[in-house]
């Protein structure tokens, strides 16, 4: 096939395959007549009814708040701890056993404990739970980013007598920033998962709660609508993050492109 025909075929495929999947889903569920797999069209109608916008304030907003607060705290703590650990090998040695243990801990194992320690299942328990585990991607990436900084850059600043706090602010943090941002992206994806888990386990509001309740009351179409919402939420948050990242790290792409291979 000619080059032009290939290009057209690719564009067609890029549209046709996703569309095809959706159509196939609709056709299969329509013909299967299974309560547990309602028609796609039914799910979409329910989706619009629930989330746009009647139950939005009641459930979506709390979920987003928890994600936002948990993620925000995780980023601040992750960077604040990551900077001294990245700069000091000795501090790293001391902190390593703790970091390696907690980052490997499967989060759901601490769900019951988080409730016991925080004495509630209100927002603060979920935010604490989300924040705790979301610290690690940011923390680890901050440490790696700082360790990977070109020593020439730092030495140059030292040789000009730039004081240590200025060095951190103007050289260390910007240089590690691309890596930190990658960690933040992972952390955000993790925050969505942690939100669902903690709400599904014990909550009185939120998308995860809706998921649980609709399952318990055998309301299958709302359950599916909740599943779709969670998927959309994950996708949209990731997309927004990428857009911001693209703008903020434009210099990084240009610089890497200019590097000799």
């Amino acid at each position: 096939m000619s080059a032009r025909a290939w290009r057209v075929a690719k564009v067609v495929a890029e549209i046709a395959v996703p569309a095809g999947i959706l159509i196939a889903w609709q056709l299969w569920t329509a013909s299967a007549h299974q309560a547990r797999f309602p028609r796609l069209s039914t799910i979409l109608v329910q989706f619009r009814k629930m989330w746009l916008f009647s139950q939005f304030n009641e459930h979506v907003v709390p979920s987003l708040e928890r994600i936002g607060a948990g993620f925000g705290i995780a980023v601040v703590v992750g960077i604040a701890l990551g900077v001294p650990l990245g700069l000091s090998p000795r501090a790293r040695r001391a902190a390593m056993p703790h970091i390696e243990y907690w980052r490997a801990m499967p989060p759901p194992a601490l769900l019951p404990i988080s409730i016991i320690l925080v004495h509630s299942i209100a927002n603060r328990q979920k935010i604490a739970f989300i924040a705790f585990f979301c610290i690690f991607p940011v923390l680890l990436n901050t440490i790696d980013g700082i360790r990977g900084i070109d020593p020439t850059l730092v030495e140059t600043a030292r040789s000009y007598g730039v004081p240590w706090h200025e060095r951190i602010r103007r050289i260390v943090l910007p240089a590690a920033f691309p890596q930190i941002v990658a960690g933040m992206r992972n952390s955000l994806a993790l925050a969505v998962i942690m939100m669902v888990l903690s709400e599904y386990f014990s909550s009185t509001s939120g998308v995860g709660y809706v998921l649980l309740i609709s399952k318990n009351t055998f309301q299958l179409v709302p359950m599916w609508a909740a599943i779709v919402l969670i998927g959309v939420l994950g996708y949209v948050l990731n997309l927004l993050f990428l857009l911001v990242e693209r703008r903020v790290l434009a210099w990084h792409r240009g610089w890497r492109a200019a590097l000799p291979d």
């Binding site: 030292r158 000009y160 004081p163 200025e166 610089w255």
Partner: protein, 272 residues
């Protein structure tokens, strides 16, 4: 103004000990341009880092304006060979040149003026708001030089700054060094392994031995000023000085197993 006395630097301990710098003695007077030449691997960079206060010497000391150097001194600026790695890729040329001035107690207007003058002195005014990586290698090195100049040091240390730059650009940059030295009146300690360059630029040349480094010989360069890439290099005196330095370095037999040094020598002067 700069006194290096019995400077020595040893790395490691026990049987993994390396004496990079042995016993270096050198005095640099105000306004001089002293070139330091030596075979590759002879500890030139270590020497310069000790002089610049980035490394603590094992023996001896460095004094600048009578005061002992124990950390990077206020009146000294360094220009490295790896210019692209010493510039911040996330911000403009202007902000790169501004970095050393930020912690100096100067009003903002003065800082901007110093930055713009320095960038102008190296001929990059048109690119002052570009990112460094948008510029060629030679231009990036000019940015590094502008940064050093804006800092207004009394002494400038340059560590093989033009080694990574192509030959024609190197000539332009050498002339740039001479012109800013005249314009700013700054003292310069210039490390290089390019013999032609050392003779072209210097008022005096310090020829080093291989590691552990010492000053083998100090040569006064009596060539007329202003130097010119073509006219100066046609002079008989230039050729004589060049040959003399070359012989001194060639006679420096590299330490056994120091293939790198031999190869570097061979690469630098293939006609030999």
């Amino acid at each position: 103004m700069l006194e290096i006395t019995h400077l020595g630097k040893t790395y490691g301990s026990g049987d993994r000990e390396t004496r990079a710098v042995g016993d270096v003695n050198l005095t640099v007077t105000e306004g001089e341009l002293v070139c330091v030449v030596g075979p590759s691997g002879c500890g030139k960079t270590t020497l310069l880092k000790c002089v610049g206060g980035l490394l603590r010497p094992t023996t001896g000391e460095v004094t600048l304006h009578g005061r002992r150097v124990s950390g990077p001194p206020e009146e000294m600026a360094l220009v490295f060979q790896d210019y692209s790695r010493s510039l911040m890729p996330w911000t403009s040329v202007r902000n790169n040149v501004l970095l050393p001035l930020r912690h100096k107690k100067l009003p903002r207007a003065d800082r901007s003026r110093l930055v713009e003058e320095a960038v102008d002195a190296v001929g990059l005014t048109r690119f002052i708001d570009h990112y460094p990586w948008q510029l060629s290698g030679g231009m990036q090195q000019r940015v590094a030089i502008a940064r050093a100049l804006a800092y207004q040091p009394s002494i400038l240390l340059m560590d093989e700054p033009f080694a990574s730059v192509d030959a024609q650009t190197r000539g332009d940059l050498e002339d740039l060094v001479l012109s800013v030295r005249g314009q700013y009146g700054v003292t310069i300690l210039f490390v290089t392994h390019d013999i032609d360059e050392s003779v072209y630029l210097a008022d005096r040349i310090a020829v080093l031995t291989h590691a552990p480094t010492e000053v083998k010989e100090l040569i006064a360069v009596d060539l007329p000023s202003p130097r010119d890439q073509i006219a100066t290099k046609e002079l008989a005196e230039f050729a004589r000085l060049r040959a003399h330095v070359y012989r001194l370095i060639k006679r420096e037999r590299p330490a056994p197993g120091d293939l790198e040094a031999e190869e570097a020598l061979a690469a630098a002067h293939p006609e030999s």
